[in-house]
């Protein structure tokens, strides 16, 4: 995969076109993002970057977990992720979905949306829902040097998410739900560079 160089995406300048597979809840979007080079060359100009955003909307039901895992694995493979990156992303997304369904919606009907896209040398996933806000990044890290009986209760899924992902950010949506963004870098190649 070609590297795009060092720079900064201006998230607020992202535009989408979308082609949905009607009735399946799965769609592929084309995201156009202004990529701002960060070098000091005054002649550098922002460039448009085109990227595919894979999208899935599911009901907040644990029976949908397998479908979500298949979606993440397939999208990650299409975006060139190595299998170990895909496996870790699948597990992290599954853990968050399980948390949202079982503890956020807690049996109430609801929906969850997933978006997955390529980033320079990695992948990003955003999971959005309308469950009561819960910020997993504010949960203290468990001290794994402690004996099991002294570890704090709860949070095994959140622990796995934070252990597996390179970056986890949480925001409360305008509607009062959760938007969790996970980022995972590809492992270095034998040449010492990321894929």
């Amino acid at each position: 995969m070609a590297r795009l160089g060092v720079g900064r995406e201006r998230e607020n300048s992202t535009h989408y076109t979308q082609a949905s597979a009607a009735g399946l809840g799965i769609s592929r979007q084309i995201r156009y993002t202004i990529f701002q080079p960060s070098d000091s060359n005054a002649n550098s100009i922002p460039v448009w970057r085109k990227g595919v955003v894979h999208h899935l909307r599911i009901a907040a039901d644990v029976q949908q977990l397998a479908e979500a895992r298949r979606f993440v694995a397939a999208a990650a493979a299409e975006l060139g992720a190595p299998i170990e990156t895909s496996d870790e992303l699948v597990l992290a997304v599954d853990e968050w979905l399980s948390n949202v369904i079982m503890h956020g919606y807690a049996g109430r009907p609801g929906w969850i949306e997933l978006e997955l896209w390529a980033e320079p040398a990695g992948l990003g996933v955003r999971v959005t829902d309308a469950a009561p806000p819960y910020d997993p990044t504010r949960r203290p890290e468990p001290d794994l040097t402690l004996p099991l009986e002294q570890r704090p209760i709860g949070g095994l899924g959140v622990y796995l998410i934070r252990r597996l992902m390179d970056d986890v950010t949480h925001a409360v949506t305008a509607a009062g739900g959760n938007a969790l963004t996970l980022r995972k870098k590809f492992p270095p190649t034998p040449q010492g560079d990321a894929l």
Partner: protein, 137 residues
Amino acid sequence: MNIVVEQAQGRVPVAILRLQGDLDGSNYRDLIARAQALYQAGQRHLLIDLGGTPYMSSSGVVALHTIALLYRGAEAPDPEADGWRALKAVAQAPEAGAQEHVKLLNPQKRVAAVLDQVGLQTFFAVFTDQAAAVASF
């Protein structure tokens, strides 16, 4: 996920639970229920065959530890509880340490990785040979 129960005889009777399919938040309570039913029927030694389970989330980890606690004769933790609660309950139970009553057979790479990621790779005795596993009880 399908669960098939078989019986084997070593020095003691051993129930073998063969899982087919992913073990996740949608079915981990089914596994606990099957293991609990066997315990209530008098079974005291359990071998869980994970050879047909390509994927396990932390819900599966909670199921395995809940079953381990059950087979120690202790009260099971609430399966709704997330994360470390089940592990804490196991650690506080009598005979805390190596598992004597519940052992694992043929965990696949991804499943073994999850056990490793939560620091429990040595918590369960793991076998790749069924006869050796049955004989170990």
